[in-house]
């Protein structure tokens, strides 16, 4: 056999023995999903989220008798607060632990020595964790939907689906950010630390800071709106509200301004902001991870 023929046969062998891009990603996603399901954090978060969601649904309907149906908006508002606290924490810590943890245990190296690319490993992890998170949310939402149906006589299926959709997007955005943190930090304890810090900033610090600066610098409504939607949590909140009420007037002058000037484009803008928070951190982590010179 000539060297060229040899090379060609080697190449054929190589191609036939390495998985396609999609099936590689899916294999990792499956494994990640299974790992997540059997891990303690997943069970703990699912349980906590379910209990809190049911509690909020139940409490917000107590004492309103047959008027409960009208109160679904308020239930959603109560759920909003809960979601904005718990879901980012859940997704950020899951993401932050993923790559850094495997790097620390040495399993990452072993995975990378298989016939797969770094992009496949990263995307697989992201997909697996993402599906696990969405499943966890669905269990929580499902149980509280049952409670709502039982207590209040029903939920608006459409708006409930919208709430689940937006929450899933928030979870995926936070997961994407968590993975980015995981890629850049050398150790998993560092990654968890950064994730907690990011969580605090997104949940409390940035809102409080924006509140303070809007008062101190007398920001105009359009400036406040533009700055607020940069925070994925705020665009999540506004997205849910705009889909439930068809307007943001609940949110005072700023919300009314946004509803009037942006009109029908508003839900798309808010959804798009969340989408950007999914795509950009994930894209950046793929870039950084595949450019990384060591494991």
């Amino acid at each position: 056999m000539s060297t060229i023929e040899l090379k060609r046969s080697m190449f054929h062998e190589a191609v036939s023995k390495s998985p396609s891009f999609i099936s590689g990603v899916c294999s990792f996603a499956k494994r990640e999903f299974r790992d997540a399901l059997s891990s303690k954090w997943f069970l703990l978060y699912t349980l906590a989220f379910t209990i809190l969601a049911v509690g909020v649904s139940y409490l917000s309907l107590s004492g309103v008798g047959s008027h409960g149906f009208a109160g679904f908006g308020r239930t959603a508002a109560g759920l909003l607060n809960l979601i904005m606290l718990v879901v980012p924490l859940m997704a950020l810590s899951a993401g932050a632990g993923s790559i850094a943890g495997e790097r620390e245990r040495g399993t990452l190296l072993y995975m990378l020595s298989q016939p797969v690319s770094r992009t496949q490993v990263l995307l697989g992890k992201y997909l697996g964790l993402g599906v696990a998170l969405v499943c966890s949310l669905c269990i929580g939402f499902g149980v509280s939907a049952a409670v709502l149906a039982w207590r209040a006589g029903g939920v608006g299926v459409g708006s409930y689906a919208m709430l689940i959709g937006f929450t899933s997007m928030l979870a995926l955005a936070m997961l994407s950010l968590g993975i980015l943190i995981s890629v850049v930090s050398r150790r998993s304890s560092v990654a968890t630390g950064i994730a907690l810090f990011v969580w605090l900033s997104l949940v409390f610090v940035s809102d409080l800071g924006l509140m303070a600066s809007s008062v101190l610098f007398k920001l105009r409504v359009q400036e406040i709106f533009a700055l607020a939607i940069v925070n994925p949590l705020q665009s999540f909140k506004m997205g849910v509200i705009v889909n439930m009420n068809a307007s943001l007037d609940v949110l005072g002058p700023v919300g009314a301004y946004a509803s009037q000037t942006l009109g029908d484009a508003l839900p798309w803008i808010l959804g798009g902001t969340l989408g950007a928070w999914i795509i950009f951190p994930l894209g950046l982590s793929i870039l950084l991870f595949s450019r990384r010179s060591s494991v």
């Binding site: 499956k30 999903f33 299974r34 399901l37 917000s60 004492g63 309103v64 008798g65 047959s66 008027h67 149906f69 009208a70 109160g71 308020r74 508002a77 109560g78 909003l80 607060n81 606290l85 599906v131 499943c135 669905c138 269990i139 499902g142 149980v143 939907a145 049952a146 709502l148 149906a149 006589g153 029903g154 939920v155 608006g156 299926v157 409930y160 689940i164 949940v203 409390f204 809102d207 409080l208 924006l210 509140m211 809007s214 008062v215 920001l219 406040i224 709106f225 607020a228 949590l233 705020q234 909140k237 509200i241 009420n245 007037d249 609940v250 949110l251 005072g252 002058p253 700023v254 919300g255």
Partner: protein, 467 residues
């Protein structure tokens, strides 16, 4: 085939649809046909208008009953008022009326009445600037009409039902959608029951109209549910104001009204449940709010700073973003929130009831720091429903010197919500319940399927089946 034949065939083909229209059930006739029927009739006669589409305007100047239950449609094709009632004692029943003019001058209406003692019932009015317009038509009845106004921007629409100097009227069971207001000017001693107004500006709007009873009306998705202005001695009972969240967004708004009695109403998910603007305005008059369900509004009760002499008892303030607030920095101390040892139920009451007498043992004083901030900086409302808001309230609770003054004091807050049932002909919700259950089941099943399905690969290795 010769050219003329082709042209002929084409012509026939083109004309066929137009020709066909004349064979339809709605043969176009003129309102003159109705007019001549009226001329032939005696006073007090009932005229059954035959089925058909009548084009033109109709002036009724003889006390007859016009009955369109056979399917009569009157269309003014956008010119003036469709029906103009000029004789007293006329009844217009079961007609479909449409296509009034649309210019504001002359205020064209679907049915205009300018004589007393009219009965307008069970008509369907579509595409009209004003729906039913009563001018100096006391002792009239407007009942069971369905009104939709012209599809225009809200500022240019006319009123669904308007009364002008028309006393002692009964307005009941009407349904109005997409109009400006159902409005009552200088009209006294009305009875307004079981009307539904939605997607309009003000559901029910009173201007200088006194001594009226409103019972069982359903006002939803308007800018304001009920707005009473300069009108005294009005009683609201069993009404429901839901989801009124326009620019003003009040469930009930009161401006300079004396001796209003509001009992057993449901004010749900409005921007503001009750808005008090200088009411009551004169000395010695009071406002009474008893047994109302004020729930899920952004602000339960909003008042101008010097509002006084309102008495709130046995109301349920449930899950309002802010239970009570004032415009600016004022307080509600000149109003009473408890009388004879019973106050209201406040869902954010954090006190306790150790002696189990149904009344909390500590007074209710809402002191929300975020609420106080909102009063000063309305833009901050953007941040409601967020953990940051909770953080601010938490801080205020931990550091009492940051807490603002309370806006009101309820000395006898109820420890459990009073039972308030509003008797409205509501629709069954079993469909929705099923929907909710189905939704829950699908979600849980989906999650479980995903969990179980994932085990497949490893199981096949365990059991040795080829995959």
């Amino acid at each position: 085939m010769s050219l003329p034949t082709v042209i002929l065939i084409l012509l026939v083909a083109l004309c066929a649809p137009a020709l066909g229209a004349y064979d339809g059930p709605e043969r176009t006739r003129s309102t003159d046909e109705i007019l001549s029927m009226i001329e032939r009739a005696e006073s007090g006669d009932t005229i059954r208008v035959p089925r058909g589409l009548y084009v033109g305007n109709l002036v009724i100047s003889k006390p007859v009953t016009l009955d369109g239950s056979d399917g009569a449609v009157i269309d003014a094709r956008g010119e003036g008022s469709v029906i103009d009632v000029r004789a007293q004692g006329v009844t217009v029943r079961s007609l479909t009326v449409r296509g009034s003019g649309s210019s504001v001058t002359g205020e064209p209406a679907g049915i205009r009445v300018s004589a007393p003692n009219a009965t307008i019932e069970h008509n369907t009015i579509e595409d009209a600037l004003f729906g039913i317009d009563l001018r100096q038509s006391s002792d009239s009845i407007v009942r069971g009409n369905r009104i939709t106004c012209k599809d225009m921007e809200p500022g240019r629409r006319g009123d669904g039902i308007r009364l002008w100097w028309s006393h002692n009227c009964v307005i009941e069971d009407n349904t109005v959608r997409g109009s400006r207001d159902m409005v009552f000017w200088y009209s006294e001693n009305l009875r307004i029951s079981r009307n539904t107004v939605s997607d309009s500006r003000y559901g029910l709007h009173f201007m200088y109209s006194h001594d009226t009873v409103l019972v069982g009306n359903d006002l939803h998705s308007n800018s304001v549910g009920v707005y009473l202005m300069y009108s005294n001695r009005i009683t609201l009972t069993d009404n429901r104001m839901r989801n009124n969240r326009g620019a003003s967004g009040y469930g009930i708004g009161l401006k300079d009204c004396d001796d209003i009695v509001i009992t057993n109403n449901a004010l749900l998910a409005n921007r503001v449940g009750v808005y008090l603007d200088n009411s009551p305005s004169s000395v010695d008059s009071t406002g009474v709010f008893e047994s109302n369900m004020i729930a899920f509004n952004e602000i339960g009760l909003l008042a101008t700073p010097n509002t006084h002499d309102n008495v709130f008892t046995l109301n349920a303030f449930i899950e309002n973003e802010e239970p009570a607030a004032t415009h600016g920095r004022g307080r509600l101390m000149l109003n009473e929130f408890s009388r004879d040892g019973s106050g209201n139920y406040w869902s954010d009451y954090a006190g306790f009831d150790l002696d189990r007498d149904g009344v909390g043992d500590v007074v209710y004083e809402p002191r929300s720091l975020f609420g106080a901030m909102l009063a000063r900086e309305p833009n901050l409302r953007l941040f409601v429903h967020s953990p940051a808001q909770q953080a601010i309230e938490f801080t205020a609770r931990a550091l009492p010197e940051l807490r603002p003054e309370s806006t009101l004091i309820d000395h006898a807050p109820l420890s459990s919500p009073p039972s308030i049932e509003i008797s409205l002909g509501g629709s069954s919700r079993s469909g929705l319940r099923m929907g909710g259950v189905a939704c829950a089941l699908i979600l849980i099943a989906g999650a479980c399927a995903a969990v179980l399905g994932s085990d497949h690969g490893s199981r096949s290795i365990r059991t040795g089946e080829p995959s």
